[in-house]
């Protein structure tokens, strides 16, 4: 049962990812991306990482992709398409990077295969934490106690990015258009 679902989600995720880069229409690419993100969320659920799956859908599929959709539709990018990866040096470079990534992943997996997938003791500790605090509490508890400084710093970084984006975008909005 789990196996069938895993294959289904993996196929959709991979197929969607291929669709994102090969699609001619930006809106099609975006929908492929949403399908990929949703399938990855499905795989998270199969791994019993429910919280991660929910956040993946809420933040990426639900919020960020909707924002992308806005941008694509409002800038009217829906009809023109130009290949941004041209044959030549970039094409070669893309192959090299893809090959290196694949190599790194293979090495990582072969290492894991030698030592056995996953740390059983750590897995049991996670199960115990989930049973005690619930799926969200098991993540929230360490996040807001042990790692709170890192968490807040990340938040600050995002805030800086938002302020920077607003500062960069501001002069363009002064021409009497209603920002609301």
């Amino acid at each position: 049962m789990t196996w069938i679902l895993f294959i289904l989600f993996s196929v959709v995720a991979t197929g969607g990812a291929v669709g994102v880069v090969t699609g001619r229409n930006p809106v099609a690419s975006l929908l492929f991306m949403v399908a990929t993100l949703a399938s990855v969320a499905g795989i998270y659920v199969l791994l019993e990482a429910h919280f991660l799956a929910a956040v993946q859908v809420i933040v990426y599929a639900g919020a960020i992709m909707v924002l992308f959709l806005f941008v694509i539709m409002l800038l009217n990018l829906g009809h023109d398409y130009q290949a941004d990866v041209k044959y030549g040096l970039w094409f070669l470079l893309a192959f090299v990077v893809a090959g290196l990534t694949a190599g790194a992943l293979t090495m990582g997996f072969s290492d894991a295969e030698a030592t056995g997938f996953g740390d059983v003791a750590a897995g049991e500790a996670i199960d115990a934490a989930v049973l005690e605090k619930g799926a969200v509490g098991a993540i929230a508890d360490p996040l807001f106690t042990d790692y709170v400084v890192a968490f807040e710093l990340t938040g600050l970084l995002l805030l800086v990015a938002v302020v920077a984006a607003v500062a960069l975008a501001k002069p363009r909005n002064r021409r009497g258009t209603d920002a609301g």
């Binding site: 049962m1 599929a61 639900g62 919020a63 959709l69 409002l74 969200v136 609301g180």
Partner: protein
């Protein structure tokens, strides 16, 4: 809780899915009928009363009509996305109901069956995730129609849903703080333990949630996406027959889910008021009804009667909110678009943030004082929330009812005026 083997789990799951889906579709069909009859009642008309007794067969006639009608396809529409729109709109609206518990566990000869389709560990987050996906159907439908009114409607729908999702999520935070867990079964159990429905200790959160729910379902007074006076009918202008109908099924399914959610989160779910015989929840895998004085769990014995009573209680609460949705639609006028955005971002968002701090602070003080989670705990929170609600209504009321109409605030200009200058 899964006490069953995989086979029985699948069989019981399938039965529950079928039952809930069927009931949901029937309720949706009769919502359209109820809407027309109630609106007629409000406007002193009769409404559809010709098909069957009191017009009760009207939804069936409508369904047959919609299936048999000609499907039009606008010549300039992007065909695939045009077809995808209604499908994407209806799916999230239907599957959200899966995590709502609708009755106390039912005893069967094969074991106790939970009256919920899928008790996922992330409960409320699942609902937020799916409601955030609901935008795609509307915005794609509007965009693919290749019609400026439909496009504007789709854009408005997505802007509005994205905005109010924030307020919706923040109003839920208060509920999650008090229930200490995100699953809806736990939310119901905590309301029984507190001896207070959350609408009292979290009254302001309920107001925020209700307003956001109206906005999320695109119902009046927030039906900007289909504002007839400005946008023909918004994102579904170009749709006809069953595809048009699917947008409406999606909207009503959303309304039903939102009503059930309000009943579950703030009105005790399937809890029967003033009766503790229905209290039962899972504690370390065993179904119990509470703890005795020594702190030992008292096992609960679910009965069919209790299940039926709690189901009736849940249905009654949901039905009330369904009626409220219709009632509001035919009573209040539509907001202006900038007012919708103003309310979402400048009123609900900061107010909800302040309210979360207030609830968290109160809970911290109560925990420090060692007040046990029960009646007194709820009473204290009710007092604090009541004051917060009064303060919020006083500020949000713009001096009209509480402050009196004569006390107009000087220098207050509408956003539309300032932008025009």
């Amino acid at each position: 809780m899964n006490h069953f083997s995989t086979f029985w789990f699948v069989v019981i799951g399938a039965i529950k899915v079928l039952a809930v889906f069927t009931v949901l579709m029937v309720v949706v069909a009769y919502m359209t009928f109820a809407e027309r009859r109630v609106s007629a009642f409000i406007q002193d008309r009769l409404g559809p009363n010709r098909v069957g007794p009191q017009g009760l067969l009207q939804p069936i006639a409508d369904g047959i009509k919609n299936i048999l009608k000609e499907e039009t396809m606008p010549a300039t529409a992007s065909k695939f996305y045009f077809l995808l729109g209604p499908a994407l709109a209806i799916t999230p609206a239907l599957v959200t109901f899966a995590v709502i518990p609708f009755a106390a566990p039912l005893p069967t000869p094969w074991g106790t069956v939970d009256m919920i389709v899928a008790d996922v560990p992330i409960g409320v987050l699942y609902i937020l995730a799916l409601s955030s996906l609901g935008v795609y159907g509307l915005v794609l439908g509007g965009w693919a129609s290749n019609n400026k009114y439909a496009f504007l409607g789709g854009l408005r729908a997505s802007a509005q849903m994205v905005s109010y999702e924030v307020a919706l999520g923040l109003s839920l935070v208060a509920v999650l703080l008090l229930s200490g867990n995100v699953t809806l079964t736990e939310v119901v159990a905590k309301q029984q333990a507190l001896e207070f429905w959350f609408v009292f200790p979290l009254s302001l959160a309920f107001i925020f949630f209700m307003v956001s729910a109206f906005a999320e379902t695109n119902r009046l007074p927030f039906d900007m996406p289909e504002a007839e006076s400005e946008l023909v009918t918004g994102y579904h202008t170009e749709y006809s027959a069953m595809k048009f109908s699917m947008f409406f099924i999606a909207e009503y399914a959303h309304v039903v889910t939102a009503s059930a959610l309000m009943a579950t989160l703030f009105f005790g779910g399937w809890d029967v008021p003033f009766w503790t015989g229905d209290d039962m929840f899972y504690h370390q895998g065993a179904l119990i009804r509470g703890f005795d004085a020594a702190g030992a769990p008292i096992p609960a014995t679910p009965t069919v009667l209790v299940t039926l009573l709690t189901l009736a209680s849940f249905c009654a609460k949901t039905a009330f909110f369904l009626l409220l949705f219709i009632w509001v639609r035919w009573t209040l006028p539509r907001f202006r678009y900038d007012q919708v955005m103003h309310l979402g971002w400048k009123v609900l968002l900061p107010a909800a943030l302040i309210y979360i701090m207030l609830v968290a602070g109160t809970m911290l003080v109560l925990d420090q004082l060692g007040v046990p989670f029960g009646f007194r705990y709820g009473l204290a929170l009710t007092g604090v929330s009541g004051l917060a609600t009064l303060a919020f209504l006083f500020v949000a009321d713009r001096d009209r009812i509480i402050g009196g109409a004569h006390k107009k605030r000087a220098g207050r200009r509408l956003p539309a005026e300032t932008s025009a200058s």
